[in-house]
Symmetry: C2
Subunit: 212 residues, 2 copies
């Protein structure tokens, strides 16, 4: 398997964690955002969306981190990324999607670039934007994790799920943007517990071949 | 089942289509965005995210349209929202997520409100933003649908999938914002074929009890 990745991409970070949890080996193919390599013709022919990550499995290229993680969970059921019951599965997916489909897309690099270039926002404007959406997203995530985490080590129940895989890269990015995180003790406890796990640690941006 | 909905919410529109396709009856509980009813304390106690839709199933409240649709598909397998093979399932989820997790969140009402209120954008600025992200999203969707649609009636293969359920509300909204759509003939052919299906037609914003 080949993973088209970028060390600091939150979505690529998720997929790296997922691959590590499943014990799957892969080759990293870094695409440098600074050089716009993810929008170059050769990559667009691989992934027309021009977004990172994409996973090449024997020539079939899958995109969208959530779709890739669901695929990995279907093909390699252990350890399971979702609980066994349908309501539990929906709750975990909902927590994951509160990051994947609500928080992260608004704070993605291409959106921040638009704010800078088209709307002439300076660092302050961009940071205020970023922190606003983190606050929106983390407030509900804190409440959901408070309800569904059993041990306080994972978002749901007492094992790693898709929700944790999405939470850790989002917290990493929030810290990078100096977002105040004191109001989210459950989220932070989960972050600190998960980032120590070997599958998460090895997926960390600082451990990637393209890390600056 | 009770669906917390808003007639013009793209995410609620998806879930209405999904419920109709599965032949499931539900009661609509409209939350008027104009009156900020989705951020009122009584609704936040139901769905801490304060986002629409949420589906109440015997007291268990599920949020996030994609999580709700996956739940419905697991509990009520016919007609299937996803193909049988894992790669096909990943492709359909990827197309759906290109809307759910990339295009729609950036153009959601709360983001447009931020542009207006905090960044002082006028109608032109907001519309330019909206159309920019539609162009980004539809360009790749056109290519993906061109590759994976068999008959040109559906995004993937020859039956309705999660991708179509997400595409129709997104096109409806793009039309509302007068986005130029001539460059997306496959997307538009799918839209026109699907919106005629009874499950889609009955879910249309204009048919909802809270339609203006």
């Amino acid at each position: 398997m080949k993973l088209y990745t970028y060390y600091r991409s939150s979505a690529a970070f998720r997929v790296r964690i997922a691959l590590n949890l499943k014990g799957l080996k892969y080759d990293s193919v870094p695409k440098l955002f600074a050089k716009n390599e993810h929008r170059a013709a050769d990559y667009l022919s691989v992934n027309p969306q021009g977004l990172i990550p994409a996973l090449d499995i024997d020539g079939a290229v899958l995109s969208q981190s959530m779709a890739i993680m669901e695929y990995l969970d279907e093909k390699h059921p252990e350890p399971a990324f979702l609980p066994a019951d349908a309501i539990g599965r929906a709750r975990v997916r909902s927590m994951a999607l509160s990051i994947v489909a609500d928080l992260h897309p608004i704070n993605n690099l291409r959106v921040l670039n638009y704010l800078r270039r088209e709307l002439k926002q300076d660092d302050d404007g961009v940071n205020t934007w970023y922190r606003h959406w983190v606050t929106e997203g983390f407030r509900s995530l804190e409440q959901l994790a408070g309800t569904y985490s059993k041990s306080g080590r994972y978002c749901y129940g007492d094992s790693v799920s898709l929700a944790d895989i999405c939470l850790v890269p989002q917290v990493f990015n929030a810290k990078r943007f100096d977002c105040p995180l004191d109001d989210y003790p459950t989220v932070m406890r989960i972050y600190e517990a998960c980032e120590k796990l070997p599958a998460f640690a090895a997926a960390h941006p600082s451990k990637q071949p393209d890390a600056a």
